[in-house]
């Protein structure tokens, strides 16, 4: 049996059975366990990097698969490890198909350019301009489609207790909803964020399957609006405070040092090592001001949102909870970002390791599924995957 977690701390208060309900489910708490080792993960990752250099990036499909095999199998729930059975060739086929899609789109754009934009008065709008603009326009919705389809692929290659996971629903439908909601949110000054968060989480949660076992989600945007509005207006105040603090700090420094804008231009045009170091320190200090004033607020909201989404999800009689704090969310969102940034990407396995540890430490599962009720699905999932994700989005592991 895989290692099971011994709770070091008391679990967050578990969900109670509905009042008046005769049913009293087993709500024994447990946590996932991640027993991967950072050194081993780095060994796999560095091999992947070396192969990437040799193959000019074409080995990435197989590298990603190896990393997933390691991470998945070192995570266990209720004593049973996950299993990843995806293959590199499936990812490569997905990528090649996405490439074909882009090629077909390029052909279409060429025809549009030839018959519409080639002649004046549109002549300044060149083929490259048309193609770039069209890719930006289709890339935005396709990234969402890719996210959903990529999740479907990953789940279809994931097994728990020998049972395949999966994802129902339409990736294109999700892409359409996500594009519309994000557009509407941007148009309303991001006041629709709770609506967007809940309505984009819902299809991903309720369409997830472990075998024949589905999930339900009982979240409503109205529940979280109060907290969001608090965050929204505090955020505006924090931005103003950060801008004033930065302006005063930089303005004061310039005056003290007696620099003119010409001096600055010279420094940047002919930078010495000293200039480079100073610029990096200033950038880091600016990020710190940003990190101290703005990001904790964002993490406060994100931690709340995650707690809400997790506690309002269930799989039959299995309930979920997390007590993830603002500080832990800061570590996840901000520190992980800094690790990747400051290591020029080499810290990625470390971030992955930290994330798996965070999931294992912060997710609580109440109850256990009726194993005999969950059956192997007949659907084997897509034959290939993640092409759109690879093409239109930053696609990590």
């Amino acid at each position: 049996m895989a290692p099971t977690s011994v709770p070091a701390t008391a679990p967050p208060q578990g969900p109670a059975a509905a009042p008046g309900s005769a049913w009293s489910p087993d709500l024994t708490p447990s946590q996932p366990v991640y027993d991967g080792r950072l050194g081993e993960l780095y060994a796999i990752y560095l091999r992947h990097l070396a192969m990437m250099l040799v193959t000019l990036g074409w080995s990435r499909f197989w590298g990603r698969t190896r990393i997933r095999r390691y991470v998945w199998n070192h995570l266990s729930v209720l004593g049973d490890r996950f299993e990843y059975r995806g293959r590199g060739i499936e990812l490569m086929i997905g990528f090649l198909l996405a490439l074909l899609l882009v090629a077909a789109w390029s052909g279409l754009m060429y025809l549009v350019w030839l018959y519409v934009f080639h002649e004046k008065p549109f002549a300044t709008f060149g083929l490259f301009d048309l193609f770039s603009l069209s890719v930006v326009l289709i890339g935005f919705p396709l990234a969402y489609v890719g996210h959903y389809a990529g999740l479907r692929y990953k789940l279809s290659r994931t097994r728990w207790r020998g049972i395949r996971c999966g994802m129902a629903g339409s990736a294109w439908g999700y892409g359409a909803i996500a594009t519309f909601l994000q557009f509407a949110n941007a148009m309303t000054g991001y006041l629709l964020t709770p609506v967007v968060s809940v309505n984009l989480a819902r299809p991903r949660i309720v369409n997830t399957r472990v075998g024949t076992q589905g999930f339900t989600f009982a979240g409503r945007a109205g529940d979280i609006y109060g907290r969001y509005l608090g965050y929204y207006f505090l955020n505006i105040v924090a931005w103003i405070a950060a801008a004033v603090a930065t302006f005063m700090a930089i303005g004061g420094t310039i005056e003290t040092l007696g620099f003119s804008s010409d001096d600055f231009l010279k420094l940047f045009a002919h930078p010495s090592l000293h200039t480079v170091v100073v610029v990096l320190l200033i950038a880091f200090a600016a990020y710190l001001v940003f990190g101290l004033l703005i990001l904790p607020l964002r993490c406060w909201w994100q931690a709340y949102l995650l707690r809400y989404l997790v506690t309002h999800s269930r799989a039959d009689n299995v309930l979920f909870a997390t007590a993830i704090s603002t500080w832990q969310m800061w570590g996840f969102l901000v520190l992980n970002y800094l690790i990747v940034l400051l290591t020029l990407g080499l810290g990625w396995p470390w971030v992955m390791h930290r994330t798996m540890k965070l999931i294992a430490g912060q997710l609580w599962i109440y109850g256990a599924p009726q194993g005999s009720e969950i059956r192997q699905p007949t659907d084997r999932g897509p034959g290939y995957g993640e092409g759109l994700l690879d093409m239109f989005d930053v696609s990590g592991v």
Partner: protein
């Protein structure tokens, strides 16, 4: 040997004990020893290996059932009984030596990749089919000239194209060079892949004499004969690829840094190309016995108009070397035959009329 058995039909878990006979793996329920399954040894497969999976599942070929043996000692024992199951218990990875080896390999490969970009393009680019280069150049030219008026004076175009091809042949260049003249400014000229040169007419009308136009033309021919346009594209693509491969494209902000770094390297390449084109241009004029002081006098004229020198002020962000440095490098006496005859020069001055 204790294990966990998943039947592949439901998510039920059974704690089982294993017994290996000469042909079969017998799987019995732990609690009552009831036989759960008999798997022929020849049909057993290990899914994955112990270097990637913490516990590689054991399966029967073609079946969805799984057997998981958590205890490494028992896995090793199973392997000793059935050697074909070796991936169940591979030698543990020695992490430190492996990390060291891969790190060294990566450093060496980055060096190799970098050298291939820096020096390999020198040899690889001429091997690129010329028709492809020409197609690329024509596509860019179409976009650039879409809303511009080009000068159509036949005699002037013939003059500048004649000199361009004379200089190119002097350098042993095999392809036909085509010069286009765009009406108006800026005072500039540039080269596209496929031996396509673009001159702005302001450069011709503001030139003090024909040697300056010839000097600029010779400089552009320097770009052509060294395949600078296509080398620039290849190097920019190579640097971008190296950065993406190394970082895995895992962070937007890293991509931003990468783009900035790539731009800086492109500028550095640009400055090197300009120096090489300057030197080649002057050499070609001298080889043909033509006046070769036009390049430096053209730059002197530029400095007179803009004493602050934008290239020098922009420093590492400039695609061209400082103008004063270029004047020093290309300074030549005003000797030699004129590059254009009086009639040619007159026609060139009137090319847009």
């Amino acid at each position: 040997m204790a294990a966990r058995y998943y039947d592949g039909v439901t998510a039920d878990v059974q704690d089982v004990t294993l017994k290996v006979t000469s042909h079969e793996l017998l799987i019995n329920r732990s609690e009552d020893s009831a036989l759960v399954a008999r798997w022929p040894v020849a049909e057993l497969v290990v899914l994955g290996d112990s270097h990637h999976e913490a516990v590689p599942p054991l399966a029967l070929r073609g079946s969805e059932a799984r057997l998981v043996v958590e205890d490494p000692a028992w896995r090793a024992q199973l392997v000793s009984l059935v050697p074909a199951l070796k991936p169940l218990a591979l030698e543990p990875v020695k992490v430190a030596p492996r990390l060291g080896t891969y790190s060294l390999a990566i450093v060496a490969l980055v060096g190799l990749f970098w050298s291939a970009i820096e020096y390999g393009t020198e040899y690889a680019v001429p091997l690129l089919p010329y028709t492809l280069q020409a197609k690329l150049g024509e596509t860019v030219l179409d976009g650039l000239l879409a809303d511009k008026e080009t000068c159509q004076g036949q005699a002037g175009l013939a003059a500048i194209n004649r000199l361009a091809n004379d200089l190119a042949r002097e350098a042993g260049y095999r392809h036909e060079v085509t010069v286009h003249i765009v009406e108006g400014g800026p005072v500039n000229a540039f080269t596209l892949p496929g031996s396509i040169l673009v001159f702005y007419s302001d450069l011709i009308t503001q030139a003090k004499d024909s040697s300056q136009v010839a000097g600029v033309l010779a400089h552009e021919i320097g770009h052509v004969v060294h395949d600078h346009p296509i080398k620039g594209v290849a190097r920019a693509y190579g640097i971008d690829l190296l950065f993406k491969v190394l970082t895995g494209g895992y962070s937007d902000i890293l991509s931003t840094f990468g783009t900035g770094g790539g731009a800086l390297l492109a500028m550095r390449n640009g400055r090197a190309f300009e120096r090489e084109a300057d030197a080649t241009g002057v050499r070609l004029l001298e080889q043909r016995g033509l006046r070769a002081d036009g390049v430096s006098t053209f730059f002197e004229q530029m400095i007179e108009k803009e004493p602050s020198d934008a290239a020098s002020a922009a420093g590492i962000w400039s695609s061209h070397p400082p103008t004063r440095e270029r004047i020093e490098a290309t300074k030549r006496p005003p000797t030699g035959r004129p590059a254009f005859s009086a009639a040619e020069w007159q026609a060139l001055r009137n090319v847009c009329k």
